[in-house]
Amino acid sequence: MTYNTDQLQTNNWKLKVGLEVHVQLNCKTKLFSSAPAIFDNVKPNHYIQLMDIGALGIMPQLNSAAVIKALQTCLALNLKINQSSSFDRKHYRYPDSPCNYQITQHFMPIGVDGYIHTWINNIKNTVRIQRAHLECDAGKSIHTKSYSQIDYNRSGIALLEIVTYPELSSADEVVAFLKTLRTTLKAINTSDANMELGQLRADVNISVYKDTLQGARVEIKNLNSLNSIKKAIEYEKDRHIAILEQQNTVLSETRLFNVSTNRTSSMRSKETAADYCYMPEPDLPTLNITAKNIEEYKIPSNQIPSNICEYWQKQYGIEPNEAWIMIEVPEVRQLFIDTIDQISLENRSAYVNFLIGEVLAYINTHSCLPVRSASLLELMNCLFSQQISLRQAKEVFSAMCASGQSAKEVIKEKGMLQINNPETVKTIVDEVVITCPDEVKAYLNAQSDALRKNLVRFLMGQCMKISSGQANPKLVSQYLSLKLKQISDEHKSG
């Protein structure tokens, strides 16, 4: 069933969304055993130890690297650290849970009450985070027609669960938050945060309200991409509003998103409202984190993406949207940091455009950048001192990436120095005027501006062609207008 939102009074309805995000920390081994933390594309049940399959009498051994990465993530998200946190058991029965309980941190999580800055269309939106805690991932169930199989490779991998306050008010905010979170995790190297590989998973809790009327909260699972999340939120919002507009009540439940129909549906199994019987984990002592630990492991704030974005905005006047595009890609981010101070104020905008246009495009297709900051600066200097045109700069850049040569080497080899000599430019323009008499005549007789513009463009093109693209376009344009005016005046008077 789809909902005709035009007919619904969606104006006064507001959306309330909270997220529970599960992040796989990129540790080498699992949270409570020394089995390698590898589960994608490998032989099933290969990377397991006794702890990961719930063997009798086996006890958890806490992975200190996981604690460090969790701590670093909490600090990057401005969470307050509980210097004494503890582990608890959350009980539920499912074949992919080896002990039929998950070791998590329910009562005293490692971090509480933080925030992260995100930007949507250059407007800042601060998302408040309620808590973050360590817990174990479960195994994977594989169902076929006649039997089900369990693969415990993933069982025991360290997760950090991050819970936001239910204050997000649109699908765009949710997507912006998740993108920012993903970039942050990768920047501080605590998770590879690849949604397709299940390294970052989000469950969405959604409700709508209008004035004093608050609809029930619904949980949505099985959201495997940002696009799914966006579509699911939009569908749910409309569904809730339609129900409430008809004076009915929204059922508080868990629903699954269907990626082919872009709709959610009720979960058939009776999994809702389980009593998890939380109990402190007796086999693990309290986790103590000292102020010294925090000082030692904290990632410097100038390496945190949200802070970088604010700084670039303040210091260099870069708009958040553009800043973020650069920040998201580590090579470009670093390149900017290394070079921006050598770029003068008036060239800044052009430089950013070059980074976002050429450099980023190369990285996206080749997954690497063979050009170093010094080489790029040399190229930019050639461009900004007008030795070459922008079009030439792009060509030089490609050649530099392919051959490893410096900018100057490529320019020399290709004989690309821009023609800036006014006399030479004049000669080129004169030659074109002589070799294209029909077009010049058409220009003189043109009745509309549009036609005149087209002809000028054609003549410009011819100038560039004769000069093998090396003529300074600005100069060419100047002289061409002058020449055409001169001819026009002669024509009128003659």
Partner: protein, 486 residues
């Protein structure tokens, strides 16, 4: 040799074997024969005849290297709660009837490293839950000091099999466990020594958990000296158990008996009771030897019992959650995993199921704060109160049980009645104290009873000093009590 081989103490027999005066294979054979002779006691679930022979032969092959080991070729029984590699481990439960672990628990590996030979896995209450060894899926165990007829008595529980094995001379010592009294109580009922070290002293890795914050591996032997020899091999660092203390364990075998000037706490109202006169006489003897008796007040025992059963049932529920018919399957079928689980869990012993139900109830979100959280608070208070008591005394001495071993056929109208048997042992578990039970007399029915000594957490030294002193001052003879006849 005038004395039967199996009647020697652990210390004596190891010495004889080390000196070459008796062959380890002979010793092992004698014990295996004794097991066979006493099989109606049902003390063993699995007898490791082949494995123990192989182990003895292996040790003899490198006798030069192994001879000095403190447990050289000593046959030791192990409670079926400890995972032994390739040797069946059942926890006396149907669910694990065919479970052969692929790994060795730290405790059994430690004793093996010191030369011990595991002669068999002993009977117990299923998963450690019970005080009588009548809740075993492999049949009840019989107290060797009683007849096999209608008057057969329980050996106590949950380590009943271990106690019976030691008391019937089939092994020179036994590994057991204590969560609420499971080592001390059967030791008292069977007239032997049972030692429970502090929680966090011995690794629990590979020990099937019942109530993890209360479980401790323990030992049973026919003398305090013997128990110390075994305990010394069990203690030590283990990185696999994060709850282990980093304190260096004391060498208990080196401890000398001491009693003069020791301050002994006693609980007045308990000693006034008639059946506890054996403890009273013991205390008066100790006083004559120079001990200082100090009356103390302990927290209410009924509250302690309720607290213990709340916490231990909650943890039992949690530890038992994994038995769902899928991993440790019992051939129960169903159309859904829920159905299989339901059917499989019906195979679990009734007493265990009772505890699971209590555990789920106290942990449910509705009751969590009122029951479970409250019990934990009370436990903390009990711990503080007992810590304070040990500021003014070195040890506390009290009877181990309220009475002698009861009939196997005794009908407890209410399960809680059986729980009340733990009253005297329970405080030491809740407050993480070490404890030892020593046989100190016989009742009018010629059944043994015991006295326990508690000391401060990690102060096993004080407890053992006084226990060794008692052994000298009031020696107890097990032999006069044995009455089973086959």
């Amino acid at each position: 040799m005038t004395k039967k081989i199996t009647r020697f103490s652990l210390q004596e027999i190891v010495s004889l074997m080390q000196k070459g005066e008796v062959s380890p294979l002979t010793v092992l054979n004698e014990c295996l024969n004794e097991i066979y002779n006493t099989k109606l006691l049902n003390a063993y679930i699995t007898v490791c005849e082949k494995e123990s022979m192989q182990e003895a032969e292996k040790q003899l092959q490198e006798i030069g290297k192994n001879r000095h080991l403190s447990l050289f070729c000593a046959p030791i029984a192990v409670k079926d709660l400890f995972c032994t590699k390739d040797i069946r481990t059942t926890a006396a439960s149907n669910i694990l009837r065919n479970f052969y672990p692929s790994y060795e628990s730290t405790v059994t590996q430690n004793i093996k490293n010191h030369g011990a030979i595991i002669i068999g896995k002993t009977n117990m209450d299923a998963f450690g839950m019970g005080g009588s060894n009548t809740h075993s899926d492999f049949g009840a165990c019989i107290n060797p000091l009683t007849g096999l007829d209608k008057q057969a008595k329980v050996p106590g529980g949950s380590s009943g099999g271990s106690a019976a094995a030691v008391a019937s001379y089939t092994a020179y010592g036994a590994i057991s466990s204590d969560t609420g009294g499971s080592t001390r109580m059967p030791a008292a009922f069977c007239g032997i020594v049972g030692v429970m070290p502090s929680w966090g002293r011995i690794s629990r890795w590979g020990m099937i958990p019942y109530a993890s914050s209360l479980d401790r591996p323990g030992v049973m032997a026919r003398s305090v000296t013997d128990s110390c020899i075994i305990l010394d091999t069990m203690m030590g660092q283990d990185y696999c158990d994060m709850t282990l203390s980093s304190l260096t364990p004391p060498k208990l075998s080196d401890i000398k008996p001491a009693i003069k000037g020791k301050r002994i706490g006693f609980i007045e109202h308990i000693l006034l009771e008639e059946e506890n006169k054996h403890t009273k006489h013991l205390l008066l003897k100790l006083q004559k030897e120079g001990a200082i008796l100090c009356p103390i007040q302990v927290p209410d025992l009924d509250t302690a019992i309720a607290t213990y059963y709340t916490i231990s049932s909650a943890e039992a529920f949690s530890n038992m959650n994994r038995y769902d018919g899928i991993r440790y399957h019992t051939n129960r079928k169903g159309h859904t995993t829920d159905e299989i689980c339901y059917n499989a869990r019906n195979d679990i012993n009734i007493e265990v199921r009772r505890r699971i139900a209590i555990g789920a109830y106290v942990l449910s979100s509705k009751n969590h704060d009122d029951l479970y959280l409250k019990a934990r608070k009370i436990r903390n208070e009990i711990t503080s109160k007992l810590d304070a008591i040990f500021q003014s005394v070195d040890v506390v001495i009290l009877p181990t049980t309220r009475r002698e071993a009861f009939n196997i056929s005794h009908n407890f109208c209410n399960p809680v009645e059986l729980y009340a048997e733990d009253k005297l042992t329970i405080l030491a578990n809740l407050a993480n104290l070490p404890g030892i039970s020593i046989p100190t007399g016989y009742t009018d029915n010629k059944l043994p009873i015991g006295t326990q000594i508690w000391s401060k957490t990690f102060d096993e030294v004080s407890m053992i000093e006084i226990a060794k002193a008692i052994e000298l001052i009031c020696p107890f003879s097990l032999n006069s009590g044995l009455r089973y006849d086959i």
